[in-house]
Structures are given as structure tokens and as C-alpha cells.
């Protein structure tokens, strides 16, 4: 190929890419379903499944004064620790119908979710009744200037309340003597390490899945429509009656898809980063590699399934036949490990599973470039195989 020829061909490719890009981006529906919709889905599902519901627990506080005479209490003017704390820190709601007042403390915690404790002053008898009914899990009282907690040690929920409460009322002491090998048993340093750090939340699981799904959908629907529709319109036939290079036609379709998918995934990541602070824990080069391989795999499959038909209905059917099973099996939204054991090895070899798992391993597990070499290579081979077979049988007329 001489220089002039190469320039001609570049011009062909550039014009084809530009035409296809315009064709795609000038359809508002494409922008919505291809780019905005996945982001909305991530936001919706991410918020629905990532935010902890508020926890509400009832606590009975034994009023010693209830037993003693009111005078003594007033005379001594010894306000108990609990009372003092509640009066100063909690919001008080007067009890109606002669019921005792309630105090409410809400602990806001972005990581663990909010916890609200509602304290009701009562006597031992009532407290025990409510404990037995399961209305409350823990009873507090005070003896000799020390707050005591009464609960069933085998009740983990009560245990949880105890830990929280003891932290509120005795901020300077850990509920247990915590000793660590490395750290000095400085009690202030003892803190809860919640497991909801970026990487283990549902949103972290979801975003790579949505990306993989987006790549598959956009390649399969977009490319097969781009080919079948042009065949039905006899535009393909018109185009190959010119000196157009046939492979350039397919390459341009693929290029436009990859560009669109790149935009989609980048925006999706950006929004998820803004809202949920998700991160890429592994290798960005590896991410790009598996992203490209995924595009090529699904682009190849799309070319293969639309290599003959000129009927968009048949095309839709074929796309559905490929896409639907993978949508169900490949664990885009929920882990596929819930499927029967015998099916797992099969599921893991589906292109969408390879792509989803590959993306997740980079986003969540921090896999490096080498870690995604295998799925990348498999996806590439799938793409190249389907591409060559599709091209071989491609009906231009």
C-alpha cells in the first residue's frame, strides 16, 4: 500500500467512524438508555442496598427514687448519673396518659448506621415484664455511683446495646479491658472497625456488574441493530458497491461502540465515586485491558449473530437469546454462587461472567494486570473467533 492509498483508507475509516458516531449520538434514546439509565440504576440500587436502616432499641432505666420517698430525694439533691446524663444529652418527650417521660438519644454513624436509644424510667417489676416480653433488651440502674447494665449475656442484641450504651455513659472507659499485642492498651485507641469500608458494600459489587452489563447490552443491541438495519435498508449493499473497505465498516461500528462504552463506564464510575466513594483498588491498565477485551468479545458475538439476517425482529430474538441467559446467570446484580454447585463452572465460563468477575477483581479485590490476564485472553479469543466467523459469512447484499 503506498502512501496515498493509506491516506484514502484512513479517510474512509475516519468518515465511517464519524458517521456512525453521529448516527448513535443523535438518538436521544441512546443517550438515555445507554448512559443515564445505568447511572440512575446504580444510584437507586446503591442507595437502597447500601444505607443501613436506623436501629431503635428500648432501654429501661430503674428509678431508685421511685421506691424511696420523694422528700429524701429532693432533700439530698443527689441527682443520679443516669438522670443527669439524660437530662443534659437526651431529648425528652413527656409521657402522655400518666406514663413516665421518655428520653431519646440518637447516635449518628455514617459507617454503621444510626442507632436510637429510647430510655423509659420505670421500676424493677415493670422492667422485668418488658424484658420478658422482648420489648427491651437491657435494663440500667445505678449503684454506688456506678452504672450497671442488666441483660442476658446470650442475647447478642442486648450485648450490642450494652456496648453502645457503655460507650455513651462512660466515654473514657472501654467496656472490656482490651489488650492488643501491638498497640498499647490505650483505651481511647480502641475503636470499632466497621466492615463497610469501600470495597465490601453492595454498591462496590454492583458498579462493575453494571459496567459489564452496559458493555454487553450496548455491543449486542447497538452493533447488531447498526448492521441489520443497514442491511434491511439496502444501505450495506449500496456501500459495498463503492471502493469502501468492508472491514472498515465493521471496525468503525466497533470503534464507536467502544467509545460510547468508555464514556458510559467513565461517567458511571465518576458518579459512583462522587456519591459512594467507590474506588479502583487494582491496576488501571488491567482494567483497560479487560474492558477492551469485553468490548471485542461482545462486538464479535454481535457481528456473528447479525451476519446473515436482514430482519430486525429476528435480530432482536437472537440478541435476546444471547443476552437473557447471561443476565440471569452471570451475577450482575447478585452473586451467582447461589446457583447449584454443578452449574458454577459453566457459569464462570460465560463471557459476561468473565467480564463481570474480571472487572470486580480489579475494582474490589485489587487485582493487578496479571490477575486479569486470563479472562482478558479468553474474552479476546471469543471476540476474534466470532468476529472471523461472522465476517466470513457476512451477507453484504
Amino acid at each position: 500500500m503506498n502512501k496515498a492509498d493509506r491516506w484514502i483508507h484512513q479517510k474512509q475509516l475516519i468518515q465511517l467512524i464519524s458517521a456512525h458516531f453521529k448516527e448513535v449520538t443523535r438518538q436521544p434514546a441512546v443517550i438515555f438508555w445507554g448512559i443515564i439509565f445505568p447511572i440512575l440504576m446504580a444510584l437507586g440500587l446503591g442507595i437502597a442496598f447500601t444505607r443501613q436502616p436506623d436501629i431503635v432499641r428500648h432501654v429501661a432505666v430503674i428509678e431508685e427514687n421511685a421506691d424511696k420517698s420523694a422528700e429524701i430525694a429532693e432533700n439530698e439533691k443527689t441527682e443520679s448519673l443516669i438522670d443527669h446524663f439524660l437530662e443534659t444529652h437526651a431529648s425528652k418527650t413527656a409521657g402522655s396518659d400518666g406514663r413516665p417521660p421518655q428520653y431519646k438519644i440518637t447516635l449518628t454513624d455514617e459507617k454503621l448506621g444510626n442507632t436510637t436509644f429510647i430510655f423509659t424510667k420505670t421500676d424493677w417489676r415493670h422492667a422485668m415484664v418488658r424484658l420478658k416480653r422482648g420489648n427491651i433488651g437491657i435494663i440500667m440502674d445505678e449503684k454506688n455511683g456506678r452504672i450497671q447494665y442488666h441483660f442476658d449475656p446470650s442475647n447478642t442484641d442486648a450485648h450490642f446495646s450494652y456496648l453502645k450504651l457503655s460507650k455513651i455513659f462512660n466515654p473514657n472507659s472501654a467496656p472490656y479491658e482490651v489488650t492488643s499485642d501491638q498497640e498499647t492498651p490505650d483505651q481511647k485507641s480502641v475503636s470499632v472497625r466497621p466492615l463497610t469500608v469501600p470495597g465490601t458494600r453492595y454498591i462496590d459489587f454492583l458498579v462493575p456488574g453494571l459496567m459489564a452489563m452496559g458493555i454487553m447490552m450496548s455491543c449486542m443491541w447497538g452493533m447488531s441493530y447498526g448492521m441489520i438495519d443497514k442491511r434491511a435498508k439496502k444501505l450495506l449493499r449500496r456501500m459495498v458497491a463503492t471502493p469502501m473497505k468492508k472491514s472498515y465498516f465493521l471496525i468503525s461500528l466497533m470503534t464507536v461502540r467502544i467509545a460510547m462504552n468508555l464514556i458510559e463506564c467513565t461517567l458511571l464510575f465518576f458518579v459512583a465515586w462522587l456519591v459512594f466513594n467507590i474506588t479502583i483498588q487494582g491496576s488501571v491498565a488491567g482494567l483497560l485491558a479487560i474492558f477492551l477485551a469485553g468490548n471485542i468479545a461482545f462486538g464479535g458475538i454481535a457481528i456473528f449473530i447479525s451476519c446473515r439476517t436482514d430482519n430486525t425482529e429476528i435480530g432482536n430474538g437472537l440478541v435476546n437469546a444471547v443476552v437473557m441467559p447471561m443476565m440471569v446467570l452471570s451475577g450482575v446484580f447478585f452473586s451467582y454462587h447461589n446457583f447449584p454447585d454443578w452449574s458454577i463452572p459453566f457459569i464462570q465460563k460465560l463471557p459476561l461472567t468473565l467480564l463481570t468477575d474480571g472487572l470486580r477483581s480489579i475494582f474490589i479485590e485489587g487485582a493487578g494486570f496479571a490477575g486479569v490476564m486470563f479472562p482478558t485472553a479468553v474474552l479476546l479469543s471469543i471476540g476474534i473467533c466470532f468476529f472471523s466467523v461472522g465476517l466470513r459469512f457476512f451477507r453484504w447484499h
Partner: protein, 311 residues
């Protein structure tokens, strides 16, 4: 090499699953000629054109373009041929200019040629409209413009004006008319409008059921067999065989397929029309319809097949 045909179709046959579409067609087209393939729907025109265009392959027979077969010469032949298919729809949301630019790129042509073509096809005002918003006539002109982009030696147009209103049709005709005047392009077009064939092409090939019925210049086709005038008539209670026989004993009559209308070809209306009316009178036949006119290609077609060109 003046006499080497630009298109040489030799005994070409083509059949589909259960349709024998082209049954042995032969013709040659020389440089600068314009030829119409005239025939009704289903005659096999498109199939024949697409074989010439290299889109379909003949089952048997050969097609030479500039003395070369398609096989192995696609790249070169695509460069010298311009064509429009019977119906092509371009990319909906691409503008006229963008569509022309895309196709221009296939031929290594640039903006200058795009502008030139836009002027030729009279779409200057529409350059920024999406293809989907063009009228039928404008779309056909765009298709024609794309066919003309590479300044083709051979222009192949499949039904360039079918389905267009008379105005839109005349616009296409005037573009092609001026093209003929200013270039040496050889033109082949298919049509089932005889006016189109008469107006644009010096040579006409009438095709029916996959075969050539007749070919020649308009004058040759029309004047063949005793005369270039026609009486077209219909009589009351036409169908009856007796009436027909009586007329047929005196005139050579072609009946159309329903046996409703009769056609008499003649050369001198002044003599023969009174004679015809006399015969009707004597036989007590009453006319429902009578028309005397110049013979048309449609008449030629009807005289050979009993059918009209365009139903």
C-alpha cells in the same frame, strides 16, 4: 478501441428458489449511449441490473464491463461505476452533506466535489437537513448525487423516479438530461414509465418475464409492423365472441388481457378510422370508448403481451 462495448451482457440466466427471473439476456452497450430497460414489475430488471453492478452473480452467462469480468476486478470497476439501487435508505440522522461526505470518502473525494454535487442535484438549501426529513424526490436526488460523485463512466440507475410525483420526476429528468449533454457517461436505467424511456434514452430494451421482447430506438420500436398510430376502443357488451369475430375478420386487433379493450395499429387514421366506424355500424356495435393517437411503447408492449406496462 471505439467499438468495444462498455457493457457486454452475454446469455445471462438467473433463477431464485422458485422464480426464473432472467432467462437468457444478451446486449451490448457502447460508450456514451443511454439505454432504458423498460418492463413491468417483476420483469427481471432489478435482477439484471444488480448482475451488471456486480451485486448478484449470474447462474450462467457472462458480463463484461469495459471488457473485464467482475471477479478480481471489483476495486477498479467500483471506481468507474455510479449506481442507485431501486430503493436505498441512507442513515436517517445524517445530513445531506454528511451523507455525501461519507460516500465521497469512499472514492477519495473531498468537500469540493460534495459542494459540486449538491449544486448539481439542487439540494443547496437542504445541506443541513437530516436525510429522514427529505421528501421522496429529494431523497432520490440525493441517491442520484451519490451515484454521480465519482464522475462515473457508467451510470446505472434502477427505477430512479418510481413513486415520485410528476414534478419530482421532471427534476430528475432534467438533471440526467444535462448530464447527458455535458458528459460521455454511458447510462443504463430501468423503468416502467415509457415517457422516461422515450425521453432519456436513445435505445430502449423492452423486457418481460426475464427475456428481451424487443429493442431499438423509439422510432424503430414504434414504426415496426404497419404503422405508428393506434385506435384504442371498447364496445358495449364487449365480451361476446361473435362481436369479436366480426371485427377481427376486417381488422387486425389486439385485445388486452381482460378482453375489454381492443387495439388496432395503423398508419393512416384518415382512411382507416371511417372504415372502422362503418364496420361497427354494420354490425350494430356501440362504442363505449374510442381513442386515436400516436402509437406508444405501451402499445408496443401490449401488442406483444396483451398487458399494459404499468398496471
Amino acid at each position: 478501441m471505439k467499438n468495444e462495448p462498455v457493457i457486454d451482457v452475454r446469455n445471462v440466466h438467473k433463477s431464485f428458489k422458485n422464480v426464473y427471473a432472467v432467462k437468457g439476456i444478451d446486449f451490448k452497450i457502447f460508450k456514451g449511449q443511454s439505454v432504458a430497460l423498460l418492463g413491468p414489475n417483476g420483469a427481471g430488471k432489478t435482477t439484471l441490473m444488480e448482475m451488471i453492478e456486480g451485486i448478484q452473480k449470474p447462474d450462467t452467462g457472462d458480463i463484461f464491463i469495459n471488457g473485464r469480468k467482475w471477479k478480481g476486478n471489483e476495486r477498479d470497476l467500483h471506481r468507474i461505476i455510479g449506481l442507485s439501487l431501486q430503493e436505498t435508505r441512507f442513515i436517517d440522522r445524517l445530513t445531506v452533506t454528511e451523507t455525501l461526505k461519507l460516500f465521497a470518502a469512499f472514492y477519495e473525494l473531498g468537500q469540493a466535489r460534495v459542494d459540486e454535487i449538491t449544486r448539481i442535484i439542487g439540494l443547496d438549501e437542504k445541506t443541513r437537513s437530516y436525510v429522514v426529513n427529505l421528501s421522496g424526490g429529494q431523497r432520490q436526488r440525493l441517491a442520484l448525487g451519490i451515484a454521480l460523485l465519482n464522475n462515473p463512466q457508467i451510470l446505472l440507475l434502477d427505477e430512479p423516479t418510481t413513486g415520485l410525483d410528476p414534478n419530482a420526476r421532471r427534476e430528475i429528468w432534467s438533471i440526467l438530461g444535462s448530464l447527458k449533454k455535458h458528459s460521455q457517461t454511458s447510462l443504463v436505467l430501468t423503468t416502467h414509465y415509457m415517457e422516461e424511456a422515450e425521453r432519456l434514452c436513445e435505445r430502449i430494451i423492452i423486457i418481460d418475464k426475464g427475456q428481451i421482447l424487443k429493442q431499438g430506438t423509439l422510432a424503430q420500436l414504434v414504426e415496426e409492423n404497419n404503422g405508428d398510430k393506434v385506435i384504442e376502443f371498447a364496445i358495449e357488451e364487449s365480451g361476446t365472441a361473435i362481436h369479436r369475430q366480426r371485427l377481427e375478420s376486417e381488422f387486425q386487433i389486439v385485445w388486452d388481457d381482460n378482453g375489454d379493450k381492443g387495439f388496432i395499429t395503423l398508419s393512416r387514421i384518415e382512411n382507416q378510422l371511417p372504415e372502422f366506424l362503418n364496420v361497427l355500424n354494420r354490425n350494430n356495435l356501440r362504442l363505449r370508448h374510442l381513442e386515436c393517437r400516436r402509437k406508444t411503447l405501451d402499445d408496443v408492449f401490449t401488442s406483444m403481451t396483451g398487458r399494459r406496462l404499468s398496471e
